[in-house]
Amino acid sequence: MVKDIYWLVITSLRTNFRKRSNLLIYLGLPLAGVLFSLLLYSGHGQGGLHVGVVNEDGMEMAANTVSFLESLDQVEVVGVTKAELQQQLAAGKLDSGLILEKGYSDSVLAGEPGHIVIQSLKGAEVTAYVKAMLYNYIDNFSVMGKIAAGDSAKFKQLYDEYQNIDFELTTSSVNDTSVMVAMSNQSIGFLIMFMMMSAVNLSELIIVGREDRTYFRVMSSPISSRTYVISNIIANFIVMLVQIAFTVICIRYVFKMDMGISLLQLIGLLALFALVSVGVSLVIVAFSKSSGMSGALQNLIVTPSCMLAGCFFPVDIMPSFLRRIADFMPQHWLLQTIGQLQEGASLEDIGFNILVLSSFVVVLFLLATYKFKRMNDTRSFA
């Protein structure tokens, strides 16, 4: 049986990688995704982040915070109202929003900063950047506030000293990494979609084989249908491993993006997700009566679910009921896991996520197997 599987897999891979249209889907599209992400974020290198600020506090500390933000090279500050902020964030006019609520200044001066809200639609990275910069800044003040312990003259002195510290150096490096990680994540988002698409294309060969009748010729040989399907799955998995390796290497070594996560961990996670993709594609194929139908289901399922799961933009911008749907999308769990690792989570921290992703694999495979078995009883050879 191993010999048979080897024969089927090798033949399948050889014919698959020979077709130019397949190469385009397996490698070209993920590469295009990487390039597109580059384009999407390239503006941030020069134009900077557009941060909308809602200043409800109005005290001196708040004004200082705003001017600090304005002083940053990468940031352009726009004063807005709360309503405008939501609107312009959703419209993509703003990258991030900062709300300084009433009581902000007092809280900082008291050494316990609060009443500050940061929003962002472009992904955690943008927020992370603004957050990193602000918290650093605010932290300093709260420390000063503690030292001054209510003595405003002392605070003024500390503040003036602080203003002379050259802060810019750190900011640009933080900014670079953040945008790089954002680009890399965006590229991974696209990769996820293209992985799922190529998985369906490959599983579809099972249906295509029925349509061009080659499947029946295989079945009249000593090969069992189980061997045939297993070989298809293995070929599918190998194609996706190639796809993953190619894309990740492009991201890391050709475009030199910082991924904020170790290469091996990322590849490992994506490989696990490759199994999920195979599972999804098998379920699609098992429920399809023709390759036309599986193609339609592919369009109906892959792109929308990727969108809901946050492959193209963060789930934060979606209404909460849609966000809850994302929890049912394996893509969401993958992105979340990558995000956690980027934020420094340990392997133990992501154990639960791995478990969820593995469960997706098991459930999808069981569902496909069940459906395939039932189909075999009534399959039509006419």
């Binding site: 010999k3 048979d4 024969w7 033949t11 014919t15 020979r18 077709k19 061009d212 009748r213 080659t214 029946f216 010729r217 295989v218 079945m219 009249s220 040989s221 000593p222 090969i223 050879f381 006419a382």
Partner: protein, 311 residues
């Protein structure tokens, strides 16, 4: 030795009975013909033999072994040329044959030799690197055959291998069938073309509504027809309304028309030629020739099934 033995085989699709309690034996070295109109159950029977369908009841033995119990052995010795082409469009002729033959466990030099041998056998040695999408209908049919014979099966079943192809390819295929047979293969041959079956088959079965209604050599089958004669009338111009009128004449069992030729099957003892000719003249039909035919397989088929082989 019996290469194929079918015992009380039945296949139902829901309520519909496609193969009805069929029993049949094919001996080693035969070219055995399956004759039957559209939907008679020929392909269904073949799919059952190939284990592509599970029988509702009955059993099938190849080389004296049950196909359900000795699946690997029986499949190794079986080559199926399916009615509809089953080849990969994005693989070359060579790759197609090589792939399917590899499924039977052949590898390396042996696989290469068998692949080339099979392609040569069907006359595609110049097209090994060609893709089927650039092939003519006849070439595709020949490739379809090559894919089924390269593993050197003892029993080859061909389901209408010559459907819709040019005379050159057809002759090539018929000669290949004979050659395969001379090389020791037993062959089951299905066709819609009576001439082909008459030409190459040593024995045949007539299948109708899933049942074998007659079986034997061509001579044996023709000899069973003792009460029917066929009158062939060639007209200058055929017309459909003639058929109805002719059917009403006493002694006429069946009438069919192909282009300008009307074939009338009548009871042997009824003398009705005069009535037939009068009816045609009354309709202003322009008669060119009239002849009475010796009974042949076509007469047999029509008598037994009441249908012509090709509609």
């Amino acid at each position: 030795m019996n290469v194929l033995e079918i015992r009380e085989l039945t296949k139902k699709f829901g309520e519909f009975i496609a193969v009805d309690n069929m029993s049949l034996t094919v001996r080693e070295g035969e070219i055995f013909g399956f004759l039957g109109a559209n939907g008679a159950g020929k392909s269904t029977t073949i799919n059952l033999i190939a284990s592509l369908l599970r029988p509702s009841s009955g059993d099938i033995r190849i080389l004296d072994r049950d196909i359900a119990k000795h699946s690997r052995f029986t499949k190794m010795n079986l080559g199926i040329v399916p009615q509809d082409l089953a080849i990969y469009k994005d693989m070359t002729a060579y790759e197609n044959v090589s792939f399917f033959t590899g499924l039977y466990g052949l590898r390396g030099a042996e696989l290469r030799e068998r692949t080339e041998e099979a392609l040569k056998f069907v006359g595609l040695e110049d097209k090994m690197k060609g893709y089927p999408k650039n092939f003519s209908g006849g070439m595709k049919r020949r490739l379809n055959i090559a894919c089924a014979i390269a593993h050197r099966p003892k029993l080859i079943i061909m389901d209408e291998p010559t459907v819709g192809i040019d005379p050159h390819s057809r002759n090539y295929i018929l000669n290949s069938v004979r050659k395969l047979n001379e090389m020791g293969c037993t062959i089951i041959y299905t066709s819609h073309y009576m001439e082909e079956v008459e030409e190459i088959c040593s024995r045949l079965a007539i299948i109708d509504h899933g049942k074998i209604i007659a079986e034997g050599t061509k001579e044996q089958l023709v000899a069973t027809i003792t009460d029917v004669k066929e009158i062939r009338i060639e007209l200058k111009k055929g017309s459909d309304n003639l058929l109805g009128i002719l059917r009403g004449i006493p002694g006429v069992r069946n009438v069919d028309m192909k282009e300008q030729t009307i074939r009338i099957f009548c009871d042997l003892e009824v003398d009705n030629l005069g009535l037939i000719l009068k009816a045609l003249i009354d309709q202003d039909a322009d008669i060119r020739s009239v002849e009475e035919q010796e009974p042949n397989l076509e007469t047999v088929f029509l008598t037994l099934t009441g249908r012509t082989l090709r509609d």
